[in-house]
Symmetry: C2
Subunit: 764 residues, 2 copies
């Protein structure tokens, strides 16, 4: 309540300021006329500023953001200017101070334009002059960890962040500054700054990577302000020469640059985005890259509309916004594919930008307004105004996340990521199935892996990354060694492990050469949605084919997840399939033993991080495990032989600094197998309310799960719910055509169907 | 949205029903005149029903509840009547069916009165006749686990639940039934039912226990309907003879009855409630008992107002409502003192009753309306109408939970429970410190234990109980053996363990003879709130004195928790003090080693359930451990010697059926100690937002914590935050008078203060 009042009070005083500044405004606009290029022109335009001023006080979302930003910047102005000599890693004082400086600079510049209050321009000027004072003599940053050390920060990446934001501030106060001041700033600060992060660090600048995107955009933004076309060309197409060793790698183990690879902003737009707008590093890094991509696109569209940047690669930038929003759970959190910190969501400032820019330049898609309304803030620029006006006018329509299949790779031919979404009575189930390319240096070794969500809650989790971003106590906030030894390894994922080794033997170069292949994606029937993909390179000599389907049937409370993995190997191997459930084991249909002492499950490839908590074998042909999490019951039913081992694990072994979360898992292990299947069903069922203490539908509906037919061409699964009541899932493993006719004889009964799969009820 | 529309639709049709039933209403009220006692008279009264009818459609909370209840009962009526032969434990079909039956019976009775629709009366009649058909020949329940087996359910407790609800239904349809029908029901169902749970089971009925409360009330309620004064006397004062063996125990290990103990409803009201309204079993069971206590009080007040039940024992029943509401966290969940399932809250139906009855009969305390509004439902009776009218009229005032000290024991002289609450910038910290009596059979061996909350989140948790109430897979939903081997043991709590044994050697009889003693409770200064208590019986020959204070100072972001335990023992012992933090370890100021394999920390008294994950020793005189949970940082700073061991543990060893939660803990262990101190501070500091990825104030403010003086009379603690900036906490261990003057010389400086404690800033 207090905060709300405060905002309202600020808003009132702010409107007074606007009213009292009209006179001053005219003086400013006289000054503008003397310049060749109009300012501001990057994220604010002259026309845009006028429109904003005319709407102020009538656009609640914009007004509220403005009041918040004004309060924030006013507090910083009171605090005074601090430009410390760089010293710390992220999380440390100098790092956080310089980071805060560029954020506030950008905001102060915008406030100057919108409110016409000189104190903001003066603040920007004073701080820029402080930077111009220290920059010429600044050595590279004293922390030596980065492959591309910055000057203000320990890595050029953060220096680039600084310039992307500060360019906007400079653009906003350009006309406020004298020509002499501008010359001084450009000579002593902006030009050498741009040079340092480009020609000074080609290994950083001349790449296809989110780091380079930031570098390219930083240089491009300042080039636009300074009207420096040569520098703009460098931003768009990269440095002409760089002498980068084709074997060189960055700190994450990623290659710097393939030989002959195109570089610069356009190459960074061209290559990592698939035609569907999927960014190969995954949504966490896509989110990070979105801001520079979009803010620069906005600036280019404003200053160089002839480039038609939003139409580039069939409009991929705008597509990528919708793609990214679709890669979120019900809470708006991004699915943690590859390296991704859980909890990052479409509430991040990068997504505020993305949604606003996407709305303004992408034909005013009204479903974006729903996201903007949830974000509860907008950009203080032309795009934010559009959004705020749209919300004010009640134009929003629901943002519906559909089942989608997103291709990976520059040309969309390097596998992909599928998201199946199925409604339950109260929520929805989401399956995220990954059959993509490696995903550059942040990629995990997890071909054909998946995670499963109910609403915004994880049912079968992807571990995410082992890093506490910006939390200094944990390795300076950087990647922890457990990210390599655990989080990236195959066993950390819900997919097949052969002989306790990771896919591609955990080798980045090998992994980068391959991708999985889609076999089938069909969501045309909402009651049977299916994704199927193959992987033949992860383990040479072994073929894996995984098919996952949400099936919605009356016999079940909710859609259930059918999962079929067919393995064909040239030799005998051990296969492990983990299920990283969350919550507490309720019951099993088999006996297990828990050891007196806990030992790690293995010694390498991530296995060294798992405690073996229990093991058992099923005497029936099914292993059934029920667990409870967040007031819901879940049951895994898996087809097993009496030789298969069922292992209960917990993450946390060989973790000397408590870096890992101690999450549970179950592994189905098949030993000495050449050709084999993993067939299972996961059900979400029932509910328990700790207030009423009533448990409903707490048991699985499945009586028996059985492979009733299998050869190289077909598999048929029988799912029994009651005695003599079952359904048969029929699947062609080699013909994915919609139009092929199939015929299969099972136990004296002949089944015929059209297309790769069929579900048939059998009530005997 | 869908649900809301449905409710509105129901409401409309309901109002139509009301309108069309006026004619019928008159017929019913003619029938009433022929009866000696007015009906309904228990929870609904004739006058109340008229008032309800006159207000319908104008009291949103009441109208909404009515619509929901009508929809629920209508669905059950469509479903038809099922009275199965009893067979199952809780969670099983017959148990849940009979439970549902009595809930629906009560509601149907109420609907008949309010809506005048005969279908509800007929439903009640038909079902009662079904019960009357089977009851005379029903044997005791086939499940043999209970010390007092019921007939409809496996324990008399649930049979009593049935009768408490069903009595209300009978009252509502009394005048609808013919005299012959009433005679039949009373002869074949109600009288034998009441007899079975009283004279038939004196070990259940003639006790002071929540079970007996239900039994007494069941008999009392049906006595009121039947106007059977003799039966009412039995309910109020118990059976005159019972022949209970004074050594007999129930299934939880609790004594059935002390010799010469008073029994019956009034004794159950007299004994377990302290004068402050604290119920000795703890809030979870108080909540469970509240419904019979209050519904019977309501009925007595309506039928026998001359008893002045709400004035009994200085108005303890009404006091207990406020007490119970104060024993909740910021989410409204009860603190899990003794056996208590986490998640149970003031949203439970028992608390809806309590709040409504408390408001109606307790002088219309408008703060209760805030709780009622959050509960979003009311009782469909005179009391619920009062509340709904109050809410409609906007009378509610905030329900402010203050720091309180609640005495335990019939006379308030058997220790107690203190709750200290201190505001933080965004939330509040709550300390629950327990120095009470044993708490009957549901008590835990945890003298001087505590739990700490921030907002509704646990910072230092109390494990609660090891039971999944009504979840059949887990031991039929009953207490698990780990409740005895782990949850009740001292090591499962945040208090002192001597020689790896529980308080009173875990012996219930011994524990029941003793209680801790308050030394000091003072919350007059919101910046220094303090609770101090002593325990001298838990370990014979050892005295423990624990003092805990929330201190609010400018040098700290939030109030911090100072914790001082002084131990005086006749012999040398090992002392363990656990901290059951939640979340992930961020850093420590000492080295620790993690073993290759995990072993249990001990072999008995709960220690067998702890894995030893790591151990270390501090080379400085402080052990500092920081962790992270729910976006907040926490730091424990503890005074240690270089000999003290710091153990990191995780619950879950020797847990053959995954019954335990795998929660972490830290134990400070002092070996071979006679007289010693545990002095520590817990800080909540800083914040991390996974969306902005910014960590603020992530480090402790404490540089050093030191005991600078200690003898039998005094202790002085120095808390250093910056070099040469500290404060001194001075405390008298033997004189708790507010008016005593103290003088202490520490390092050549003399300190003087008034009262038991003093905090003095020192800036050298």
């Amino acid at each position: 309540m207090f905060l709300k009042n405060k905002i309202q009070a600020s808003l009132v005083s702010l409107l007074l300021v606007v009213a009292s500044c009209n006179a001053q405004s005219k003086a400013t606009s006289n000054a503008k006329k003397s310049n060749k290029q109009e300012h501001p022109s990057l994220v604010l335009t002259k026309a845009g500023v006028e429109k904003i001023k005319s709407q102020l006080g009538t656009v609640p979302l914009f007004d509220k953001t403005l009041a918040n930003v004004k309060a924030e910047v006013d507090a910083e102005i009171l605090n005074g200017i601090e430009v410390p000599i760089p010293k710390d890693f992220s999380g440390g004082y100098t790092h956080e101070r310089h980071k805060r400086n560029f954020v506030i600079l950008q905001k102060a510049g915008v406030l100057y334009q919108i409110l016409d209050d000189e104190k903001y321009a003066k603040y920007v000027k004073d701080m820029l002059l402080e930077y111009a004072k220290v920059y010429p003599t600044l050595p590279v940053h004293p922390q030596t960890r980065s492959y591309a050390r910055g000057k203000l920060f320990w890595q050029c990446l953060n220096d680039s962040n600084w310039l992307v934001y500060t360019s906007q501030a400079y653009d906003c106060v350009y006309n406020y500054l004298s020509e002499k001041e501008r010359k001084h700033l450009e000579k002593d600060l902006f030009k050498p700054f741009a040079k340092f992060i480009s020609a000074g660090n080609p290994q950083f600048f001349n790449r296809v990577h989110n780091h380079s995107t930031w570098g390219n955009v930083a240089v491009g933004m300042i080039a636009l302000v300074m009207d420096d076309d040569k520098l703009l060309q460098t931003a768009l197409y990269g440095l002409k020469t760089d002498n980068i060793d084709p074997n060189a790698k960055d700190n994450d183990g990623g290659f710097i640059k393939k030989e002959g690879q195109k570089v610069g902003f356009l190459a960074n737009l061209e290559e990592p985005f698939s035609p569907d707008g999927y960014y190969t590093e995954g949504p966490y890094y896509q989110r990070y890259a979105m801001y520079p991509f979009l803010v620069f696109a906005e600036a280019l569209e404003n200053v160089k509309p002839e480039l038609k940047i939003f139409e580039y690669k069939d409009g991929v930038l705008l597509k990528s916004i919708s793609t990214l929003l679709n890669l979120t759970d019900a809470y708006g959190n991004f699915f943690p594919l590859n390296d991704g910190q859980k909890g990052m969501s479409y509430y991040s400032k990068e997504l505020v930008s993305a949604v606003d820019i996407g709305y303004h330049f992408g034909g005013h898609s009204t479903d974006l307004l729903t996201i903007a309304k949830a974000q509860d803030e907008v950009l203080l620029d032309d795009t934010g105004l559009s959004v705020a006006m749209g919300v004010r006018d009640g134009l929003e329509t629901p943002f519906v996340k559909k089942s989608i299949d997103l291709s990976d790779g520059k040309n969309g031919d390097e596998g992909g990521v599928a998201v199946l979404r199925a409604n339950t009575e109260k929520s929805e189930l989401s399956l995220v199935m990954k059959y993509s390319a490696q995903g550059l240096s942040h990629g995990h070794y997890d071909k054909l892996s998946y995670s499963l969500y109910e609403g915004g809650n994880e049912v079968i989790q992807d571990y995410g990354m082992s890093r506490f971003v910006n939390i200094q106590q944990k390795g300076g906030g950087n990647y922890l060694k457990e990210n390599t030894t655990w989080a990236k390894q195959t066993i950390a994922h819900n997919t097949i492990n052969q002989d306790e080794t990771s896919h591609f033997a955990g080798d980045f170069e090998t992994g980068s050469m391959h991708h999985s292949e889609k076999y089938l994606f069909d969501v045309s029937n909402t009651n049977l949605q299916i994704i199927s993909a193959k992987e033949v390179n992860a383990y040479p000599g072994t073929k894996m084919h995984r098919t996952m389907a949400f099936i919605n049937e009356e016999a079940f409370e909710n859609p259930y997840l059918l999962d079929i993995i067919k393995i064909n190997a040239e030799k005998e191997h051990q296969y492990d399939l983990p299920y990283y459930y969350l919550g507490q084991i309720m019951s099993t249909n088999f006996k297990y033993t828990k050891p007196e002492t806990l030992e790690p499950l293995g010694s390498k490839n991530g296995y060294q991080h798992l405690w073996k908590e229990a093991e058992g074998k099923s005497e029936t042909s099914n292993a059934q495990i029920s667990w409870f999490n967040k007031e819901r019951f879940y049951t895994l039913t898996s087809v097993v032989s009496t030789d298969d081992e069922i292992l209960f694990t917990r993450v946390g072994a060989n973790d000397p600094s408590f870096n890992l979360r101690n999450d549970p898992g179950v592994i189905i292990r098949k030993k000495d197998s050449k050709d084999t299947y993993f067939v299972s069903i996961i059900e979400s069922h029932g509910h328990y309310d700790p207030v009423s203490e009533i448990a409903t539908n707490a048991f699985s509906s499945i009586k028996k799960l059985k492979i009733v037919y299998s050869d190289d061409a077909y598999i048929a699964i029988n799912i029994e719910t009651l005695p003599n009541v079952s359904r048969l899932f029929l699947f062609s493993l080699i013909d994915n055509s919609k139009n092929s006719k199939h015929q299969l004889k099972i136990e004296d009964e002949t089944y015929e169907w059209l297309g790769a799969y069929q579900l048939t009820e059998i009530n005997k």
